[in-house]
Symmetry: C2
Subunit: 193 residues, 2 copies
């Protein structure tokens, strides 16, 4: 039985989709009221800091999702190899196989970056670091691990740009498959089958 009365946390997913679709500057308060179904009164009740606080809340939720679903498993799983393949499917799911853009990547290229630069930087640094850690524990030499982790994050972000630009989600799917084979190969290939 869903509550009629909204809670702050109920609104954040809608806000995320809105910012993804319109960008930070492009998402006006009227767009937001329309798409969320909430009036400005409610919006400012939940987010007294206005649009900036809304975006910060969205970024916070994204951070948290990746931290628990992706970064922590990569850093602490007993089996780093399976954490890596699991990362690939989580990421494919999260970005809807290339049909959804990365809000943090979009913010990174925008001028709003300056308002959220710490969060933007930490997100990518965490991802790269956590994946490198998993690769190392899976037997990859440190130098290779760092390079391959960076290559992976670069490929994911680039694929999202291209998939959106060309309106070809398959670019993302192909990229993710390619990178996954490379990650598997670097952690000992098929030998453990």
């Amino acid at each position: 039985m869903p509550k009629i009365v909204a809670e702050r946390s109920d609104v954040i997913p809608s806000l995320a989709e809105i910012f993804r679709e319109y960008g930070f500057d492009g998402a006006s308060l009227s767009t937001i009221t329309e798409k969320t179904g909430l009036g400005k009164g409610s919006l400012y009740h939940f987010f007294p800091g206005g649009k900036e606080e809304m975006a910060a809340a969205v970024l916070g939720e994204i951070d948290e999702w990746f931290a628990t679903q992706v970064f922590e498993p990569l850093r602490s799983a007993d089996d780093p190899r399976s954490a890596i393949t699991s990362m690939c499917s989580s990421v494919a799911g999260y970005f809807r196989s290339g049909r959804r853009v990365c809000l943090i990547g979009a913010f990174a290229l925008d001028n709003v970056r300056n308002r959220f630069s710490d969060r933007v930087r930490d997100y990518f640094a965490e991802w790269r670091g956590a994946l490198a850690s998993a690769l190392e524990r899976a037997g990859c030499p440190e130098r290779d691990a760092l390079a391959l982790a960076e290559e992976t994050v670069v490929a994911v972000q680039g694929a999202l740009v291209l998939a959106r630009a060309l309106d070809e989600p398959e670019v993302f799917e192909r990229t993710l498959e390619r990178i996954q084979s490379r990650l598997i190969a670097a952690t000992g290939g098929d030998e453990q089958r």
Copy 2:
């Protein structure tokens, strides 16, 4: 002896830098007048269509630069291998080794994409197609050529996102070196030295 009176084409490079720095929505007309040193009168004299026409002019100039400096050489050079290495250095120079973002990539992730979707799509499609053509002519099988061309454009765009997000231009430099070795390897490696 520089002319005092501005010409339309003189303004476009400044506009490009402004859109790169502030984004389309983030670049207000007051920002633009301030940074270009031109009043609104002059701006609307050159670009009667306003900001949208300014952005279109910038995109047109970028298109043209890439067409003549990168795409055409890739498609028609007698020596496709050297056209490929030359692409890498042109691209490194153009993006200032990762300190400059790709405006078209940024537009692709933004909602302004909808206003310029044809140009955005064509730019990336052209790049991927031209590079694939050069790879094929350099002896790469068609399937591999397409995949590697796509991987290259993905890597460049992703590296620009990450370099900007992390404030680490080296990410771009490392990526470009890695991709260049891969391109060279795919066209026969060092054997022709």
